[in-house]
Symmetry: C2
Subunit: 249 residues, 2 copies
DNA sequence: TAAATAGTGTCTATGAGACACTATCAG
DNA sequence: CTGATAGTGTCTCATAGACACTATTTA
């Protein structure tokens, strides 16, 4: 009898969910994890792609964040290194079942060791590339709008934080990290300025190995603090956008 | 019969509220609006001070933000110039009535023309000064924690945005604006650097009047865009904290 | 006149941007 | 050797910080 207490409250309770926008980078492409909506009786948006998430289980979830972590672990099989709240979205029309609100989390992960183990059926889960117009895709609910907000947040924070380091495999070179910045920002950064800043920030530990290839070997690094992002005093610049900070949230 | 549809959903619905942290500055003091909890049958935290807010009215509120605006207008009688989402807080224990989640908004307003008209009884509503230890006060629910988060957000954004301009009366001098920055940041700023930055940002319109007093008159300004904050490329500095940006959210 | 606050001139230090330069590998 | 990418030296420019200076009012 889950609704015994409801009568003591004067207002109807909105449907409440938690959704997660989780990004990664692979093949020099920013990607977001999507799941396919189930097809069934009374299911909204059957068969459409959606952000991972779902209803809060008030019996199992102690709070919103652990609900988000639970859902992520169910999908990716790993404990994500970076998780923050993006915001919440609630209105009368986003869910055909009624007034609903979703608490949205924003997560980043590297892709070295992970397979999307979950669910069995791989067609139900995919790392979708984030093209320029992905926010126009026919995602379920208002998830296209939420994804757009997450992208804005990501791009904005990448301007002045070390967030891209959370999108890397465990070990990486400075050039690879710079490429991740460039992929997200959609512009090139100046090599010397980038390296000076990142190294001065003391974010990275060198690992005593080099990445070899058909050229001069590159020093490998790994994140020193895998839980907290670094904030640079100034945004990354570029030739055309000397003050490209955008709205920082 | 508000709960007819509930049986189609497998999970219990958390209680859902919207709360607002609204700041202002008066008498060189940062203040937050608090309301007294009602005393009555089944009311949690009776008589305690709390952030303004309450249940979503799914019949009247089209979305979360309009719910927040409705509650603010009920309390302050004005349309607040700055409103953004702070985040959401939900867990099993914050409300004795059950698993609950609140969507929290962050608002700023100037105090020139406003009386707390609402409610009639003035003892139910107050602009509480934000002292160093206000977050230890015995606010209702987890509102002390939410207030602490809002303060962190405010202080963080004041380092690199024009947010304090939204805390000013309609017309103000540069020195008064600088004082507001200093009150919030808890440290003094360098006059010349402050003025150069603010004027270069092209945020303000001069009004063709001066503020007179027992000294040289000061130019009066007003905000050019009363809806959008400006983001400075670098944080405001100080003697002791050349890189005092903190975590920007 | 003094007191008080408004507002400016100017020097220095810091770090980003540009870009050419050197370094070290495979083949 | 060449090709390719890693990594550095160094100059210029913008702007913050410091702080002393001038400006304009009332009493």
């Amino acid at each position: 009898m889950p609704h015994v207490k409801t009568q003591t409250i004067d207002f109807d309770r909105p449907l409440t969910t938690v959704d997660i926008v989780i990004f990664t980078v692979s093949e020099e492409t920013l990607r977001v994890l999507l799941v396919r909506r189930p097809v069934g009786e009374g299911e909204p948006f059957p068969g459409r792609w959606a952000l991972p998430g779902g209803f809060i289980d008030t019996a199992k979830d102690a709070d919103l964040e652990s609900c988000a972590r639970r859902k992520l672990t169910e999908k990716t099989g790993v404990d994500v290194p970076y998780l923050e709240q993006l915001g919440s979205y609630g209105n009368a029309i986003r869910d055909p079942r009624g007034w609903s609100a979703t608490h949205v989390y924003f997560a980043l992960m590297g892709l070295d060791d992970v397979e999307l183990a979950a669910g069995g059926n791989a067609s139900e889960l995919r790392w979708a590339p984030v093209h320029a117009d992905i926010t126009g895709e026919a995602l379920a609910f208002d998830h296209a709008e939420i994804l757009a907000a997450a992208l804005t947040r990501l791009r904005s924070k990448v301007e002045y934080t070390s967030l891209p380091a959370f999108l890397m495999p465990v070990e990486f070179t400075l050039t690879e990290l710079q490429r991740t910045y460039e992929v997200i920002l959609g512009r090139e950064l100046e090599k010397k300025a980038f390296r000076t800043r990142v190294l001065a920030a003391d974010l990275l530990d060198t690992v005593p190995r080099m990445q070899v290839g058909a050229n001069r070997p590159a020093q490998l690094y790994r994140l020193r603090d895998t839980r907290k992002a670094h904030v640079f005093a100034r945004p990354f610049g570029s030739a055309d956008a000397p003050n490209a900070a955008g709205m920082r949230r």
